[in-house]
Structure formats: structure tokens, C-alpha cells
């Protein structure tokens, strides 16, 4: 638009007396600032995530209450309760580590269906006779390298090969499990390395080492996502890849790194799972991809990318293992468990949403009246 203004025109004095600024602009801005400030605790960057996590904690508490009501005998015993918490956390530890990597991949706009297969391949590779001969260090190095390597291949296929993540990682799922079966000759390979096996049985200060590993991965993931440029790029790449690209972010390389990161997490998980099972086989970590994806999404990460939290994913995993535990202590059958699990997932997410909507409405209304 130009409009405007040829200032030389005499009849159009450039400066005219403000006819009636109905409102002082400064004041308006100030009012807006105030309104925003008031609302920012839940509108702001982290507010929504935190609220969502609170809600997940609510679900967790509800599950524990159900446990207390159905098995007062067990829950009456505080040492049992403590050991049960540790059982739940140990159960959550492997999928938890996988979910941290998955959270990054999904926030970055992708998906990784091959995580279970990578865990199996890394576990099998680390427990071959040849690898075991290098001792615990060799096995850990092997698992991490295999995980990272497979993740890099995924990343290459997706970023530079331009394959749809779903297809690339599905193909990798199939191929990695096939390779694991080939490597292990379809046998369950026993780990004879005491150091590795001890990872699953060692306790420090009464808490299993596995739980420390989970905590370490979660904290590292949280810092990486929320405090580093890598995390910021992940959000940008997932939220709007074109915008990220035009802002100078190397989207392909970043995508590559996301899948490598997921592979690395799988390598860590492979060691944990192998230690727990004191063995590895091609069929291990079966359907972990679904568990991890479900936990990530329950945790509030958008499947379409661009938004998500590590803590939410962790809570999702813990909720799932708490449900499993709840059914185990009540001796319910697995199929009943599955039906109810489906119901609980749906109910949790549904209520969560209703909650949000009414909260939003409430705040909206509130604002209206106070204005």
C-alpha cells in the first residue's frame, strides 16, 4: 500500500490532530499485558504441559487407590508397597528409556516403529559368543553401537532417502528382527557375563540400578529437549519443517540425529533388558514400539509433531506398568486386563480432554466477567 501519501499534496496535512483516540494505545497495551500475565500460568510455554502431567499423575493416583481398595492386605504392608513401587518402576524402566527416544522422534515429526526390533537386534548382537568374549564393556559397546547404527540407517533412509518414516521403520522392524533371528540362529542366547546380569539385580540405596538408569535417561532427555538448541530444533523441525529449513536449520541432518538418538536409547534398553532376562533372543521386546508410542501420546505429545514432553511420556509408561501390576496383584486374566486397559486409556484421554475444554471455558467466562 502504498498508499499513500504523497506528502506534497497541500490539502493533506500529514499531521492531523488526532480526532479522537478513543482509547490510549499505551493503556490498551498495558491492559493486554496484564490480562496476559494473569493467564500466562496456564497459557504459557510450559503451563499446559505441566497441567497435563498433573492430570496423568491423577490417573496414577486413581490406579493406586484401586489397588488399595482391591488388595488392602498387600497395601497394608508398607514394605510390600515400597517393593511394589520398585517392581513397577523396574517394569517401566526398559520401555521408559525407549520412550524417551521415541518422544524426540515424534516431536520431530516422525515415528519409529523399529524400536522393539532394534532392542532385540542390539541385545542379540551383544550376547553372541564372540561379543561376550570381550566382557561387559564389549557387550555394552556393541549394544550401543548397534542401536546407534540402526538408528542412523533409519535416519538416512528417512532424511536423505526421503522415505516416509512409517514405511522406513516398518521395513527396518522386519529386517532387524530377521537379522537378529539369523544372528542368534533363533536360539535364546544366554548372557554369561555376571557384570551385565548384575545390572538388573544390583540395588543402590535400596533402589535398583535399572531405576537409576531410567532416571538418568529421562533427566538427560528433559534437559536435551527443554534446555538445549537441539531440543529447540526438534520442536521446530516437527512443528513446521519448511519454516525450520528457511530459518537455516539443517532439517535433514537433524532428522537423522533424531533417529540415531532413538536408536541409541534402544541400545541402552537392550542392555537393560538383556540384563533382566540374562539372555537375549530375536523375539524379545516384542511390540515395544506400540507400548512406547502409546505412552508418548498418552503423555501429551502430538503425533503430528511439534509439541510434547518427556515427563508426560515417562508418566505414560508408568501408568501402563501400574495397570499391569494392578492386574497381576488381583490375579485377573490377561484378556480382562487388555479389555480394561483399552478402556482405561480411552477414559484417561477422554476425561483429560473434557477437563481441558471445561477449564478453558471456565477461564474464558471468568475473564469475561472480571473484565
Amino acid at each position: 500500500m502504498s498508499d499513500v501519501t504523497d506528502t506534497s499534496t497541500p490539502e493533506r496535512p500529514a499531521q492531523l490532530p488526532a480526532q479522537s483516540p478513543p482509547v490510549d494505545p499505551a493503556e490498551t497495551a498495558a491492559a493486554e499485558q496484564r490480562a496476559a500475565g494473569r493467564l500466562s500460568w496456564w497459557r504459557g510455554e510450559s503451563g499446559e504441559g505441566a497441567r497435563r502431567n498433573l492430570w496423568l499423575i491423577g490417573v496414577l493416583v486413581a490406579l493406586i487407590v484401586i489397588g488399595i481398595v482391591t488388595r488392602p492386605d498387600l497395601y497394608g504392608n508398607s514394605s510390600w508397597v515400597w517393593s511394589n513401587i520398585l517392581v513397577i518402576l523396574k517394569l517401566a524402566s526398559v520401555v521408559g528409556v525407549v520412550s524417551v527416544g521415541m518422544t524426540f522422534v515424534i516431536i520431530g515429526g516422525g515415528i519409529d516403529l523399529s524400536v522393539g526390533a532394534i532392542v532385540a537386534l542390539a541385545g542379540v548382537w551383544a550376547t553372541t559368543v564372540a561379543t561376550q568374549s570381550y566382557g561387559a564393556g564389549g557387550m555394552i559397546f556393541c549394544a550401543l553401537t548397534v542401536g546407534l547404527g540402526v538408528g542412523l540407517v533409519n535416519g538416512l533412509l528417512i532424511s536423505y532417502g526421503r522415505l516416509v518414516p512409517f514405511i522406513a521403520t516398518l521395513a527396518m522392524l522386519v529386517a532387524a528382527r530377521g537379522l537378529a533371528a539369523e544372528l542368534s540362529d533363533k536360539q535364546t542366547q544366554v548372557s554369561n557375563n555376571a557384570t551385565i546380569n548384575d545390572i538388573a539385580s544390583t540395588n543402590l540405596l535400596g533402589i535398583p540400578l535399572l531405576v537409576y538408569i531410567l532416571a538418568a535417561v529421562v533427566i538427560a532427555g528433559w534437559v536435551l529437549l527443554n534446555r538445549t538448541t537441539f531440543g529447540r530444533r526438534t520442536v521446530a523441525v516437527g512443528g513446521n519443517p519448511e519454516a525450520a529449513r528457511l530459518a537455516g536449520i539443517d532439517v535433514k541432518r537433524h532428522t537423522l540425529m533424531l533417529y540415531a538418538l532413538s536408536g541409541l536409547c534402544c541400545g541402552i534398553a537392550a542392555i537393560m533388558l538383556t540384563a533382566q532376562a540374562t539372555s537375549a533372543q530375536a523375539a524379545m521386546a516384542n511390540l515395544y514400539e506400540l507400548d512406547a508410542i502409546a505412552a508418548v501420546i498418552i503423555g501429551g505429545t502430538l503425533l503430528s509433531g511439534g509439541r510434547g514432553t518427556i515427563i508426560g511420556s515417562l508418566l505414560g509408561v508408568i501408568i501402563f506398568s501400574t495397570i499391569t501390576n494392578l492386574f497381576a496383584i488381583n490375579g485377573l486374566t490377561t484378556e480382562a486386563q487388555n479389555m480394561v486397559k483399552g478402556g482405561i486409556i480411552v477414559a484417561a484421554v477422554l476425561v483429560q480432554q473434557v477437563q481441558f475444554r471445561s477449564l478453558t471455558q471456565f477461564l474464558g467466562r471468568n475473564r469475561l466477567t472480571t473484565n
Partner: protein, 545 residues
Amino acid sequence: MTEREEGVVTEPEASPTGGGAQGGSVDAPLLEAPADTVAGEVVLRLTDVVKTFPGVRALDGVQLEVRAGEVHCLLGQNGAGKSTLIKVLSGVHQPDSGQVEWRGEPVTFANPQAAMRAGIATIYQELDLVEDLSVAENAFLGHEPRRFGFVRRGQMARRTRQILGRLGHAEIPPNRMVRLLPAAGKQVVSMARALSHEARLIIMDEPSAVLAHDEVGNLFRIIRELTAQGIAVIYISHRLEEIREIGDRVTVLKDGGTTAANLPARDTPTRDLVNRMTGRTIEYVFPERPTGAGPAEADLLVVEGLTRPGEFADVSLRVRPGEVVGIAGLVGSGRSELLETIYGARRAEAGTVRMAGRVLRAGSVGAAVRAGMGMAPEERKSQALLLGEPIYRNVTLATFTRYARAGFTDVGRERAEADRIAESLELRPRDVRRPVRTLSGGNQQKVVVGRWLLGDTKLLLLDEPTRGVDVGARAELYQVIRSLAEQGVGVLLVSSEVPEVLGLADRVLVMREGRVVREAPAGELDENTVLDLVMAGSLMEGAAA
């Protein structure tokens, strides 16, 4: 230009029959005036309409009155509530309070269907087409001619062809996928969609923002035809001269409220309008160019023989530090592609891009950014913004690494910098923690441009930087661009608004069909020359082909 102006005013010819003739083989009359329409009758009246979003009172007591057969213009700053108002009218949003009276009856439209059924059709501000449907399917989406659930494809194509013909674009095949059309073609389809309804009121939200000059002419011709049939049109634009030309009456919105209603569109002094919109007076002049010959420094950007088949060919240009170079041209003349290629977002087939003497790796945005380039792309939503993220993170998207230490981000500094930018561009709302999604179109544009005002950008590529930006903010943007240039930043500016190019740039390149047809200091060109270059040349070549 003056001779042509006379010719444009052709509304008397635009009778229904005239429309028929236009489409060529049109058999059924199209868009007949509703039989019961009385010209001048008030068809729509809004009283005290209020609409709030969480944290924002987008409409705060709006009054509006629209008569049959008039073009009613809505004016207002970015974020004043224009788009929200029309979304209330078209059933997308429901008002919190207040009354909407449609043809004498109080109504609330529960959804867009209800509004359409009542006879209100809308062209939304953001393109709202389905990329993988054909032109005809898009035009008739939601009200396809059908029998037993089967689409009557023949009839649909025929009617689409009629409408397109009427719009002066008979050459767009109704069966072509919309994905394959350029932006201007998509806009035509959006219009065709609005015309495919038997509407009594057609709402157009900044339709001209993405149109070229000839298309705007076409649009106005259509609007005149429509109004001649008694159809009411609500027209939103930030371009005052358009309102002067096509509008009958003007309603001005400010901060969600009506500050002036039913002003005569042609004779209300500009300063009144502006004052009512902004609450102050704006001096909109292009910032003065520094006098004297341009800076004598070495060239900052040197582009030689840049070519991308089908988009542009053999483009050479240079930009010196502190110089603003404008590129004028029609929509589709390849300017955006050129900018994106210089920036490395597209890979050139031939030619080189040199920054400060060093050749940049082709097809690498990273290299360009490292060399000091920044680009504000044309399509803000798809190319520039993380809609769900807070404003400050969008502002610092290209620079957050700069504030980071050892890979760890420094949110505090980012926010402070973003605040500064928000302040200088008059972003509203000012709170930089809000998600960008909740901003109005023009304010989103400011975020996109603001991104490159941070950091040590040496060369700024701006693609339609003022699209959808209101007069006040536009003046601010011009100031900012000029002051950047004064600090030694080179600017390469693409705009479809010739006066903007001429007013802002030191040197102007005119592009046509992917080639630079003229390069001259801005002072040596005037608007007509540029327009003639852009248009006449193309007609010639059309004849040659």
C-alpha cells in the same frame, strides 16, 4: 493509466446477460439476482456483537449494517477483529452476546452450512482449498450437484466453467488438481467457490492480498456485476485506494469495536479513516532515501546467471551494503523462486550466488544463513511460523543458537530480544509468550519479518513483507527496513505493490516470466512504466507464442 481508468468503470454492462456472454457457452443464467431483493434494503444488521477468545476480547460491541447491492468495506488495524467478525457472520464462530439480524430476522448460525443456506458466502483470508481435489470439486465442495450420492461431474464441470469464465479465467480447466495451480489461480478458485452459491451476501476477507494487478481489476468487475444484481458485498482490505474505488460505505473497527459506521467510501478523507482505525495520525511516507550516490562499498551479494528451468532463467543482480533493491513483477513471474534460490532453499540449475565475494554452496540454506542472509518467505503459515509455539520462539527461530551457551539455550535473553522487536513493530498483543496461532494475520506477518531484525543479518530477502499488514504497522516496517539499510544491511525486496517497490527501493529490477527485463534506479521509473513493462511485454510475448 488515466485513459484506462475510464474504461474500467463498466458496471452497467455487467447485467446477468452480460455475465452469460462472458462465459462463452453459458446456457443457464448464473447468479441471478434473488427475486425478492430490493436494492438498498438492509440485509444484515449487527448490534453489540461480542466474541471472546481465551484472554482476548476479539469483538467488543460491533455495530454493522449492510444494504443489498452495496459494497461495504471493513477497515481496521491488524487484530482489530475483522476476520473474527466475518467468521461470526459465516457461522464459524458464534457470538457470545449481541444480535445478528439477517434480512430482518434475528439469527445465529450454528455452523458454516447454516450461513451458506441462508445465503452468505465467504472468501476467507487464508486460502481454504483442498489441494488434492479438482478446481470444480473445490468450487462445489459441500454442495456438489449430485444424484443418489453420486457427483454429477458433467454438470459440476459445466457450471464451474461458467463461473470461471465469468471470472475471466476460462482457461483454468475445471478438472485440474488445485495443487497444480499457482497462488493466484487458487485465489480465483476461492472466488469461484463463493460464486457457486446462490448468495445474497458475499464476504471477501483481503482477497486482493494475493492478487496481481490484472486480477484485482477482474475482481472489481465481478463485484460490480454482483452488486448490480442486488447482492451485498462485504470487502476487507488494508489498501485504502481499493476501498475508494470499489467501496460504497465503510465501517471502521478498532480493538474489536466499531469506531465509525457507514462512512461514504469515496469522500471520507483518508486522515479520518486512518485516525479512526489507529486512534492517531500516521504519516505514511516512505522513509527518505539517504541523499548522495549510493554507498561505494563492494557488492554484498552478486548473483550471476542464476537459472531454474521453468521458473526463472539467467538472472544476474547485485546488492551493495546499505542498498535496498526491489523486484517488481506479476504473480508467477518467478520472484519468489528467485529469492528462495538465492537463499539456498531451492537448488539452482546454473549460475552462482556470491556473498561478500565467496560463492555459496547451491541448495544450502545453512550456508546462506551463515553468510549473513535472512529471508522472510512469502507464505507465512506454511513457510515461516511454528503456529503452536510462543511468539518469542518464533522471533528467535533463526537466532536462538546465538543466545545459547555450549548448546544450552538462554530463554531470558531470547525473550528480552523478542520483546524489543515486538515493541518496535507494534505487535499486538504484546505478550511474547502467546502462541502465534492466536495472532491476527497481519501480526503474524510482523513476527516473520521481525525474526530477521535480530542478530547480525547482512542481507535481508523480503518476499511480500507487507502482505496483510495495516497502514500503521506498514509505516513502521518501512522505517525499520530503511534504518537497517542505513546500518549497512543490504535488502532485496519482492513486492507486488509497485508503489512500495518504487518508494522503498534504491534500485528496481522488473521481472517478467523469470527474466529481468529492466533494471534502473528507482528514481528513473514511475509506476506506469513499471506496469507497462510487466504487462505489455507479456502480451507481446503471448502473441509471439
